[in-house]
Symmetry: C2
Subunit: 255 residues, 2 copies
């Protein structure tokens, strides 16, 4: 199968890392083989899995910049869940590759040889539309776009769609939007309802039915290096991510 899903949105703090960790772990609990790629120099996904970056010999930066074999850099959490970690060195890539004609294809080239070892590869992108995010857009099959249920969230979507279209023209390949995921939805506030309604009216069929509520268990889980599915399995947050995973699996494998 080897489907590569890029979780991206240049708006900051919308739940990209949180979604990669919870969807990735969820799929592995359903016995899908999953590779998580932390592609943000902040390294939040790496920490979210309780990995101490100082213990890692190689990160995704070494794979792309120093041609270290990707197999040597992968951390095997268990049989179904592997992680390619990141640290601040990754931010050096943007300048290093600035004048390289093949700069858009570094991540794609690194993942191609191993993609058939996995059912899903999830990429956590940084909050920007720089060379790193362009690499993750080129490397993926589908883009999953988390949208926080708040005012500023809708504004950036046009820029993101523009960027996807620009990449499509530049590399002559279709970039597919898997869906828009509404996050941090608060049923008590009118702003959440308005943003959701606006998103549905603009992108209708592309909006996931599952909505992720604002839920403190989701925010607490990473401090224990866990996903909310194992940290608080009966919480509203865990339930919502489970429903979302069902939707994602149905999109790929059919009902």
């Amino acid at each position: 199968m080897g489907k590569i899903i890029n979780v991206a949105n240049q708006k900051g703090g919308v739940g990209k890392t949180t979604s990669v960790v919870n969807i990735g772990t969820g799929l592995s609990l359903w016995e899908k083989k999953v590779l998580i790629v932390d592609f943000d120099p902040q390294g939040n996904t790496t920490t979210g899995y309780g990995i101490n970056i100082k213990d890692q010999e190689y990160t995704v930066y070494d794979v792309l910049s120093n041609s270290v074999a990707v197999e040597k850099s992968i951390i095997k959490k268990n049989k179904y869940l592997h992680i390619l970690s990141a640290d601040e060195d990754l931010s050096g890539l943007t300048l290093e590759l600035a004048n390289d004609n093949g700069r858009l294809f570094y991540l794609q080239n690194a993942l191609q040889p191993i993609r058939e070892n996995y059912d899903f590869i999830l990429i956590d992108s940084p909050p920007s539309l720089n060379l790193l995010t362009l690499n993750s857009i080129v490397a993926c099959d589908d883009v999953l776009i988390p949208v926080q249920a708040e005012f500023y969230a809708l504004q950036g979507l046009t820029q993101l769609i523009h960027t996807l279209e620009k990449v499509e023209k530049a590399i002559d390949k279709k970039v597919n939007i898997l869906g828009f995921l509404v996050t941090m939805y608060d049923i008590r506030t009118s702003i959440s309802k308005e943003v959701y309604a606006e998103l549905k009216s603009h992108f209708n069929g592309l909006v996931f039915d599952s909505v992720i509520p604002r839920n403190v268990r989701i925010a607490e889980a990473p401090s224990y290096g866990e996903s909310v599915l194992s940290y608080a399995p009966s919480s509203k947050g865990a339930f919502a991510y489970k429903e979302l995973i069902k939707e994602i699996v149905e999109r790929y494998y059919g009902k």
Copy 2:
């Protein structure tokens, strides 16, 4: 006076834009002359002031890239509050200036001639440590760092401090941290208390006494193009930002 404060943190969604809008408007209500510089291609500060970017002839991009006079690009909201807007063109600057030796000084050079017209200039930086944020660090006197009271928030601070130190060496100038501002603090959650305690233990005297609570009025205000101070003056959010502004004014003008 002409103090330039850069509100920066590469972690996304921590309240940079929200703090620039509410501190900036607050200072102008105290009859300080304020220039707000939106330096994020997302243009959230511009929208937060209800400005329709399509109506603007010039933005900060035109000032830096096409040498349009900064006076021509400034939007005068009222006598005490002026705004230099931004749009997605700004993201082109990073590539355009990549090989320019003076690339770190573009924003500083644009603001120098007008800084004495204002008591405060506030810069809203994007969620990254790219050329735009390096420009805003070089251009400012002080950096104000919003820190969300959540797990991932502390992780990025070391990278940010590293970057400030690197800039100091590169341009041989002291970069001063005005303070760390705790945002979206939720008294009901232990994670907020833990992050606050951790921040105090690391940076003690540099943490503002005022803490901004998570408050729905703060999130609603930008959809009306207002600051929380005018949108919901008796809310907990407005009270907290007023307390913060008192602290900032005391730091600059004395008690």
